[in-house]
Symmetry: C2
Subunit: 387 residues, 2 copies
Amino acid sequence: MSTNLQTTEPDLTAIDTPFLLVDKTKFDRNVTALKVKLSPFNVELRPHLKTVKSIAGARHVLDDFNSPATVSTVKEAEAFAEAGYTNLIYAVGIAPQKLPRIQALLAKGIDISVLLDSVAQAKGVVAFCQAQNMTIPTLLEIDCDGHRGGIQPDDTRLIEIATILHQGGAELRGVLTHAGESYDCVSKGELVAAAEAERYAAVIAAEQLIAGGLPCPVVSVGSTPTAHFAENLDGVTEVRAGVYTFFDLVMAGIGVCKPSDIALSVVTSVIGHNEEKNWLFIDAGWMSLSQDRGTQSQRKDCGYGLVCDSKGDVIPGLQVIGANQEHGIIAAVDDSIDSSQLAEIVVGTQLRILPNHACATAAMHVGYYVADPEQVELDYWARIQGW
Amino acid sequence: MSTNLQTTEPDLTAIDTPFLLVDKTKFDRNVTALKVKLSPFNVELRPHLKTVKSIAGARHVLDDFNSPATVSTVKEAEAFAEAGYTNLIYAVGIAPQKLPRIQALLAKGIDISVLLDSVAQAKGVVAFCQAQNMTIPTLLEIDCDGHRGGIQPDDTRLIEIATILHQGGAELRGVLTHAGESYDCVSKGELVAAAEAERYAAVIAAEQLIAGGLPCPVVSVGSTPTAHFAENLDGVTEVRAGVYTFFDLVMAGIGVCKPSDIALSVVTSVIGHNEEKNWLFIDAGWMSLSQDRGTQSQRKDCGYGLVCDSKGDVIPGLQVIGANQEHGIIAAVDDSIDSSQLAEIVVGTQLRILPNHACATAAMHVGYYVADPEQVELDYWARIQGW
């Protein structure tokens, strides 16, 4: 006799497709897994809320209102601050016109840091601080892998920029780096190496600041792949990651998770067939799936997503091979499914599509329906929109 | 002395970037151009509102509340109906679970047609009509170019499906086709041919229905490229098009417009430089630009968009070459601009990015700021979201 008092599954057919669905069991498991992974290290986890981007969702990611968190827009910072969260990094290079909104958050008692990597930005922050007679916590962005922006840890401008901030009245909070290239790793060895390169760049930069008599209380690193594969975090004070909460096919392709760990899908209805081409049409096009093709360069290209049945189990051999605005096209990409089986998936059938990139797919929606086995009713998490 | 009483340009620096901007002068010109193009023909224009997707914006596209319009979601249909519009086609294959919402619109006096291309869907519509003791105007989707769905005009199922509808109590309204492959045309000759193929498929299908003793009052064709290049519309009753209102780089690549006709852009701020790589960073990533790479397969690949100065004039040689969630990377793709000129575009500078695909870029935003030379203040058009 089972002791598992599984409640009735929520009725997904009552919701008009397409819509975003969170499998809360998997979501909670993913959130816990990274906490457990990082628990042996002397670091804080600072989740990147750009993925979940939801006040209701963040409650299940952050332990309390003072938990560290990362945001990608000032709008997110304002929304999370309004909800009570107090400890934020705005992890996109700061433009001077955004400083008044940062000032307003600081004035409300929110500890929010900004990020920069140039003399021009540092001078802008300092000029603002002096004009407003205030201080702004500021992190220096370090480049650990040539991915995008940041200063090389051995660049002489590191000390120059830090000195401008420190002497000019900004609060030099520390250094931050992001191993964006880790998304292109193809083996565990590469992931471990990317994590170590990320740590090393941040720690070397921090050591330079300290050797120069400058403060560096924060040494912030992170990406979902490196957070999950770090073997050494000596010298690091905090780890950032975002997509680990949902996971996605890109992460599965890198080997950070399995497809069955993916907590996010788009629920869709079959709206037609092309019998000549053995295509199924669904009402999820790029408007609900996104146009992300992040698996295109991976060993297994998943098209616009893998196809699951109405319970969330992957149907082998099927992919969304094309996406127009409100039409998706599903076809068999190998011989695990034949045309008669495809024809049996009749108009009106609900399917679930696993996303290539959870951040991008979630961004196409105003909120999530959340299936939690502990609740009979679906929960709903509204998303934060705009900038 | 100029008689042009040009008012002061609106202050775009007062709005936090990134945001969507509509150049109302170009928008109005584009809207008028297609009306003028179609005026010699005996057809109605039925704009596809999936592009503008805004009640406020539709006022500048449709002449009055009874003007024909096309929608891509039931949510759009409900929003436009609520705003007073009465004449709609929901131009995505109908799934049976959406029929109650269609029924509710019909009950309010909205003339809304649904679309289908299979026996199964026709039986579903007929069963619903009989159960609800009502009728639903229904169009048959015709395949004119193998693009996606639809019935070939010579397929025997055309008469079979039409008969099911006509005898079963649905209202057989006619035929509809969309030359989706016209987006891949590379010459005027191909565009004219695509328009003629679209017309021919629809008219042949209509003739078959009429020869079979079935009604076919509506013969609906359209896409922006074919609408602009049609030379003969004999037998056609209406033309649909959507992206012609804004235009975009894909349409410019096909030759349907010039880049200077594009009425939509994303206004962004410079947030940094990578001096080694000669990159500019902007605060417009895929979250505001979309991930659409529609020009990738065209002769001129525009990356994630072309770069304009703050007045909207294209800066030759620049493209958005990469897009992360909230970061865009601008670089020179030819020698029309050198690294010292790039370095002069300082942090905080506003730029405008022209979109590859207006529908996709607009979909990333909750609304448009609208610059109209007849108004000092920017207008705002909220977008319809969700399904």
